[in-house]
């Protein structure tokens, strides 16, 4: 037998397991983290430290009926949660966890990731639209304008990274940053890129918070305004898939940030690089996501759009020009 | 004291020395037969005892004029209450006015209307606050506020066909 089939199978199982575990246990981490921030205990009944809680939640969600209310578009209504989940898992195919752990090292993997991220937004749009609920429709409209606004600065900052590394292959980008934190794109000494790249990193991080619809940019599911936004009409696993999709998007966002700016699997001190460094980086980033969410109140939709169009986009464009100049000069 | 005196004088202009109709009967006399029925007009009263400085009894058609005076004197409408005097077959509408800051002065304006087909002109045009208070009084007593832009049920269900604070209302 061809070894490539075994390889495909291995990665399929591996990615599904990684995605499933993350989707389940990030929920637990979020609840525990929120609880600690709020001086509570959090889940503690099911298993040690509430570790079985995600399983119990999953069982509960799966045993409930998926109610399809009257007057909704049944096919799209059922399709939307799946659409939220699939692109997030698919994205993991091109993520280089370490030098040797990557399902497919595509040349245009950065492009593929962004294409899939847009699909995730489509799920929110379809779910909200198909629900036939006014809150859900407002929520979808918000989600679309938000994602549209934040994809631009995000892509522009990614272009700076691509220019520096000279490749759109995530693996190449990561390899390019090996050898200690002074090689990472964010602190890159070479050509003086550290002057502007930390700004790119901040812009990219803000955009990934907005892209994943996390507080303080959770306009789409602003529970005190839109009840539950696009998820208002969803129950059982429909809701569950949306939630898992959200967490997976966070994972993908953190992976992308770690690969593009933080040297991928590289050790900060240039010693023994490996997959654990990558995992440490993404979980620190994910913790930051959680931390921000439970600290700040929500902003308004027009301030959110202003932030993107009036601040982030000009800054990222300026950054692009300066980076290009730096590359040209040195 | 100045403010009270000023308000009293302003209000007294509405009531000529000899009231034309002496139909209004004060409720205080209900079980004190010897007291003569109170005439329409302005009376200063003990604030510590009654909680308002001026007590105004007016005819129902004077309600808007009183409200306009109160508005020009810088008062605000605190509440509107109804009272059902079943034995006298009268309804009473009580307007409480107060001032936001400045010298303290509370004014109670009362008007008596027949219990059957009770009609009072609205003061919504003067104080928008009256909108909801009048709707509430309509809700509970069935007092019809003439000229009210939106006189519908406010606290009771919109299809209710009763006025529960009338004394003869039996649930």
């Amino acid at each position: 037998m061809d070894t490539s089939i075994w390889r495909a199978l291995f990665y399929l199982v591996g990615i599904m397991a990684f995605a499933g575990l993350n989707a389940a246990y990030l929920g637990w981490c979020e609840r525990k983290g929120a609880a600690r921030i709020q001086r509570r205990i959090g889940p503690c009944e099911a298993g040690y430290g509430g570790l079985w809680q995600p399983l119990a939640d999953g069982l509960k969600l799966m045993s409930k009926q998926l109610l399809v209310p009257q007057g909704v578009d049944g096919i799209i209504f059922r399709l939307a949660p799946v659409l939220a989940m699939v692109p997030a898992i698919t994205s993991m195919v091109v993520i280089p966890f370490s030098e040797n752990i990557q399902a497919r090292a595509m040349e245009l993997s950065v492009l593929l990731l962004f294409a899939l991220a847009s699909l995730g937004m489509l799920a929110i749009l379809l779910g909200g639209w198909a629900s036939g609920n006014k809150y859900a429709i407002i929520s979808s409209a918000r989600a679309v304008s938000q994602n549209l606004a934040y994809e631009i600065p995000m892509l522009v900052t990614v272009i700076t990274v691509v220019m520096i590394s000279g490749s759109m292959n995530l693996r190449e980008i990561a390899i390019d940053q090996q050898g200690g934190f002074w090689h990472w794109n964010i602190f890159r000494l070479e050509n003086g890129h550290f002057l502007t790249m930390w700004i790119s990193f901040i812009i990219f991080f803000i955009c990934s918070v907005a892209e994943t619809n996390r507080a303080p940019f959770d306009m789409a599911e602003a529970e005190s305004e839109l009840v539950a936004g696009f998820m208002t009409e969803y129950g059982s696993m429909g809701f569950g898939l949306f939630m898992m999709g959200e967490y997976l998007n966070i994972v993908v966002g953190a992976c992308l940030t770690a690969t593009l700016f933080l040297g991928g699997w590289d050790c900060p001190f240039g010693l023994t690089p490996g997959v654990w460094w990558f995992l440490i980086k993404i979980y620190v980033l994910i913790f930051t996501f959680i931390w921000i969410r439970w600290t700040y109140p929500r902003t308004q939709i027009y301030r959110l759009l202003n932030l993107s169009w009036k601040i982030l986009i000009p800054f990222s464009l300026a950054n692009l020009l300066i980076t290009a100049a730096l590359i040209k000069v040195f | 004291m100045e403010r009270q005196e000023q308000t009293r004088i302003a209000l007294a202009k509405l009531f000529p020395a000899e009231p034309v109709v002496a139909a209004a009967v004060a409720a205080e006399g209900s079980n004190q037969e010897e007291l003569p029925p109170r005439l329409a007009g302005v009376v200063s009263q003990d604030f510590a005892r009654h909680g308002s400085h001026l007590d105004v009894l007016c005819h129902s058609e004077q309600v808007v004029a009183v409200a306009e005076i109160m508005d020009s004197e810088g008062f605000f409408l605190e509440s509107i209450a109804g009272v059902d005097w079943l034995d006298k077959q009268q309804l009473e509408v009580i307007y409480d006015y107060n001032r936001l800051g400045g010298e303290h002065c509370r004014v109670t304006v009362r008007t008596l209307i027949p219990r059957i087909e009770p009609v009072v002109p609205t003061i919504c045009g003067v104080f928008p606050a009256a909108d909801w208070h009048e709707r509430e009084t309509f809700d509970f007593y069935g007092v019809h506020f003439q000229g009210h832009p939106n006189l519908i049920r406010i606290l009771l269900p919109e299809d209710a066909d009763f006025h529960p604070l009338l004394k003869d209302f039996m649930p």
Partner: protein, 372 residues
Amino acid sequence: MTVPVHLRHDETFVLNLGPQHPATHGVLRVKLTMDGEYVVKAEPVLGYIHRMHEKMAEGGTFAQFMPNTARMDYLHALAFNHGYALVVEKAAGIEVPERAEFIRVITVELNRIASHLLWWAAFLLDLGGFTPLLYAFDDREKIIDLLERVTGSRLTYCYMRFGGVYNDIDDEFITGTREFIKRLRSRLPRFYHDLVTHNIILIKRIKNIGIITPEQCRRYGATGPVARGSGISYDIRKNEPYSVYPEFDFDVPVFEECDSMARYMVRMHEMEQSLRIIEQALDKLPDGPVMGKAPKMLKPEAGYYYSAVETARGSLGHRLVCDGGKNPYKLKLRSPTFSNLSLYGEVAEGMMLADALAFMGSLDLVIPEIDR
């Protein structure tokens, strides 16, 4: 599909906010006519938790209505207790011992802080910040424990009697209250102001949102923090002193900005002022009985009585009409948020949905008190 011609150009839609909605804190319904995310018209629909307390008052004796008062504003229940006790005492001419009035003030002010804390928590929840809720509840819990100790209940108190209060306070309550004052004073700057008040997102969200002019306050009869956030220095505790408030030295926080931030700041400062009042009351607490002489069956003289107290939300008025019988002939409650909410429609017009809800939160609505 057939669309009536007159509707074709009409691009607005009606959004039913409530009666069950996370932002209305109870069962308020607001009929919003929206143009996209802009509010074209906002029309509060009341009555979903109407219980006809005023009829209940007429049906029983004066004392029997006391428990009902706490069921209206369940957040500042003791002020409703206090207001009702005051109007009946006024009508029946009952003397209250000084110690009882001090205890009333202490408990009412503690309750006011609890109410403001809960408002703060719920307001931040409206704005999407969940964590402050638990910090505020942490402090509120201490107050509720203290009040439970002396009143016997945690939320819907029936503590005051005509002529005094039902239970004397003990040393443990006094030391507990002093500890609480210290605790809240140390926590207010750190947990409340550093974390939330100075947060740029919060400032941007509520500054210049929901402008209520002083003239609007007057025309709609808005009182309490809403009026004080519009630059009107009106606090019944100062302007129309009742109980033993004249004996205490406290300020009335007034902010001139007229926006939601001003109302926020008024409430935050009021908590500090309430702490001052409690501290002074504990220092000056006289000895003596906590119950004056009051007849078992009250029969106030026929007449009209009005009495107002300052609750956490504004001026609460009791209009009592007596006919000389043992029941209140008529008891009308002038609840502060009923008037405060009535200006919502005018002010919310043209706002975006998120701002309209932030503005609604800044009014501090307690629905059972509006609906009574």
